[in-house]
């Protein structure tokens, strides 16, 4: 009879802006197993793990560890209870050595409490831990010199050295090469043999199949079920993950696309660490259609949207808008070509929280001739336009002078779209336009996108939300690992199951089938 080491029972977490991230989620993990936690982006996996690690406090539910009900108020308490977390973004200090990173906060000292560091002891402890857990690392090396896979090992060791029995790994393979992934699996199995329990968060079903004993699937903030991995196929898991509730039905007619507006050819992009993020991406978007790019986040979609809009440089490949290349153009020049951009990062790029609603809405047009009045801005005209936009986009705010930080998430996003959807828009690049906002605002923004399409705009919709991809797109591109893995000319013919299989990398179309994504 397997012993239950962790039980998260009926966890409900509601964020301050009213977003329900977890609703009665139950997760039961046995000692010594590798337990997969699967679900789409936004299904509530991260929130659930944050609750377990003490970074978020749940509204309802209880956590039982080794048979004892516990309250976890902060990460330190979680660590004390034997819960360790390996973040996707490493929490390491690059200029320190591996050993220094490992013992930070629990430094061994010579000659009593206030004595100097005992680095020899620290190195010894670190080296012993490496040997015990089967990591081949030279603990005196600096972290900045390490490859990503080794950095991750340090991160795992950091949790183990603090006595972690339950180890949470948040999409650990996302940053690794295939060889590093294989190595990681060997080590995780070794940890399992040593009696550690591992919670493995992943989108890669083949990895889940290969590594894990049992799995729990979350969907839309609720737990769908738990299964023994050996008993289910990848298709079964995929079906559990992507089944959808059609809550929002957006009425739209068939698209009447005309000439090509956006043309992307052979776009590639490497990140700062030299990894290939976008590998030879080509696509076209025509006037009067919505082309969706569906895919799990972090597969190159964000970079594509930022290259089109000028936030990232166009190095290799070619992008034209109405036949004009965007190479060497500034962000403002690209915007003046009629490009609107909803960034996935609302709080950094989308709006400026201390500026007023008005100042947020006019940021892309304040300098234009239409708003000039001698040397000044024509504030009367700007005010009346802003007021109209507030009304048209149903922004709930005191008045146009209220700072944006005082609005709810949905209203903030409405301020963003009020700016981006007004003006002479030829092309809209909408990246996760409705993420993390309430249903009302979501429906409103989706309707607006369709309206704009009917008004003759070309729309490139990037989304990890299957509902959104299927409801809105006229044709649909699926991305995985920086490449297009599927293209559906008519998105209405696609089911969520099929889409899920492509998104999760279970299937891939031939190059000829994908080739139809370009019309020329």
């Amino acid at each position: 009879m397997p012993e239950e080491i962790l039980l998260m029972d009926n966890i409900t977490k509601v964020y301050a802006n009213g977003f329900v991230a977890n609703k009665d989620v139950t997760l039961s993990v046995n000692k010594g197993e590798i337990h997969a936690l699967c679900g789409e982006n936004g299904a509530g996996k991260s929130t659930l793990m944050k609750v377990l690690f003490g970074s978020e406090t749940p509204e309802e539910g209880r956590i039982v560890i080794k048979g004892e009900e516990v309250k976890i108020n902060n990460p330190l308490e979680a660590i004390a209870l034997g819960v360790g977390m390996v973040w996707q973004h490493f929490m390491l200090c690059p200029s320190l050595t591996i050993a220094e990173n490992l013992i930070l906060g629990m430094e061994p000292k010579k000659f009593g409490k206030f004595g100097p560091l005992n680095m020899a002891q620290a190195n010894k402890v670190a080296q012993e831990a490496c040997e015990k857990y089967g990591f081949k690392l030279d603990v005196t090396r600096k972290v900045e010199e390490l490859a990503v896979g080794n950095k991750q090992k340090v991160e795992i060791l950091k949790a183990l050295i603090r006595g972690a029995e339950i180890l949470i790994l948040d999409e650990p393979t996302a940053v690794l090469t295939p060889q590093e992934t294989a190595e990681l699996f060997v080590q995780l199995r070794h940890l399992k043999e040593l009696g550690h329990t591992i919670i493995f968060i992943s989108h890669h079903l083949d990895e889940v199949k290969e590594l894990c004993d049992r799995l729990t699937v979350l969907r839309l903030g609720k737990s769908v079920g738990t299964a023994i991995v050996a008993d289910v196929t990848q298709q079964d898991i995929s079906r559990m993950m992507v089944g959808r509730d059609v809550m929002l039905k957006i009425d739209k007619t068939k698209a009447q696309p005309t000439e090509t507006v956006l043309k992307i050819r052979d776009l590639t992009y490497k990140d700062e660490e030299g990894r290939d993020i976008v590998k030879g991406f080509s696509a076209s978007v025509r006037k009067g259609e919505i082309v969706g790019i569906a895919g799990v986040e972090g597969n190159g979609q964000r970079e594509i949207s930022e290259i089109i809009t000028g936030l990232l440089p166009l190095n290799n490949g070619e992008i034209t808008i109405d036949g004009q290349s965007i190479r060497g153009k500034s962000i403002r020049q690209i915007r003046e070509m009629g490009v609107a951009h909803i960034s996935e990062d609302r709080m950094t790029y989308g709006c400026s929280e201390n500026l007023s609603v008005k100042d947020n809405i006019i940021s892309d047009r304040y300098y234009k001739k239409d708003y000039k009045q001698g040397p000044l801005m024509n504030n009367k005209k700007l005010d009346s336009e802003v007021d109209e936009l507030i009304k048209e986009f149903l922004v709930k705010c005191g008045d146009r002078n209220e700072p944006v930080r005082m609005l709810s998430g949905g209203n903030m996003q409405k301020v963003v779209v009020a700016r981006e959807f007004s003006g002479d828009t030829r092309l809209i690049v909408a990246n996760q336009p409705t993420r993390g906002i309430d249903v009302g605002a979501t429906e409103f923004i989706r309707r607006k996108l369709v309206e704009l399409r009917d008004g003759g705009a070309a729309v490139l919709l990037i989304t990890a939300d299957l509902n959104e991809a299927l409801e809105l797109s006229d044709s649909l591109v699926v991305m995985c690992g920086g490449e297009i893995v599927a293209y559906f000319e008519d998105a209405s013919q696609v089911t969520d199951f099929i889409l899920g299989e492509y998104m999760l990398g279970l299937k891939r179309m031939s190059d000829e089938e994908i080739g139809r994504v370009c019309y020329d």
Partner: protein, 359 residues
Amino acid sequence: MTSKQIEKRFDFFKTVLCVLISFVIAFILILLVSKDPFETFKVFLIGPLQSVRRMANVIELAIPLTFCGVGVAIMYSANQFSMITQSSFFLAACLSSWFAIYVKLPRGLHSLLVILMGAIIGGAIAAVPAFMKVKWKASEVVSSLMLNYIVNNFVAYFLIYVFKDKDAGFNASYEFHKSAKLTVLIKGTRIHTGIIVCALVVVFAYLLLYKTKWGYAIRAVGQNQDFAKYSGIAVASVMMYSQIIGGIISGIGGSVEMMGLFTRFTWEAPPTYGNDALMVGILARYNPAMVPLSALFLAYIRTGADVMSRVTDMPIEFVFIIQGVVIMLVAADMFLAKWKHKLIVKNAQKQIAVKEVAK
């Protein structure tokens, strides 16, 4: 009441409270030193009001403080913490004097030329740290501080080796031409036409910051650089011109001060207006329209301290203590933050309750 109104009221109240705290400290200091503390404190508080001459002093002192304060307001609105106002003011005062000595022009035109030169010089020196920041990401704070020391030495050199009047008997330049001087506006005081220039600059800066596209860009960059970049604003150029405009305005201040109050250039060391401007700017919350008020306030306590040091036994420098305390408290975001939060939450709950009742 909206949350925004509460915030505004709270900020105003906090500023007043900070000033009051520093006054209490001032009183304690006076208690420590003075033989007749109440009389001394009274002189400090109402001394400037006791004669027309002193009231005029307050206004005369507020003029350079306003120029530098407006300069600070513009630079800091763009989140550029350059300390260059000091140098812009000092260098412009020195070098533009050269044009008051060696150039001859009709009255009015001559003053204009000198002020224009001050503007150019003030802007040019401010461009240095701005350029270093944009080009090499060197901190404008440190580089402007270094420049201040270079300028101090340069001006001392210039005074002694370039335009010193050997017959003056002390370190002073030759006399300015009368045609370059600004005329006195109010008989019996030294209040000069520079006050008009000052008013124009305040209006200009206010319009620039809140009513023009350039000012909008300054505020957008100051609040969130990423947002500004995403919106298509050329962030580097905004960093550049916000600092240069700040320098130009401080430079005008230097020339106006020289042509308004002096007949020769005699400053071997810089006046402290550049640093004082920090306080003027932060008390005005970087709003140029409020700068004259906070400049008047600082000029008032300075004059008060001056009067006090002359008629009683207190040193004038104790205003620096007050100044330091005020800035430290006003700048402290967390100071009274819990209270502010409570007010806002309470208000929000009240509003929700009102809505429920209405339903």
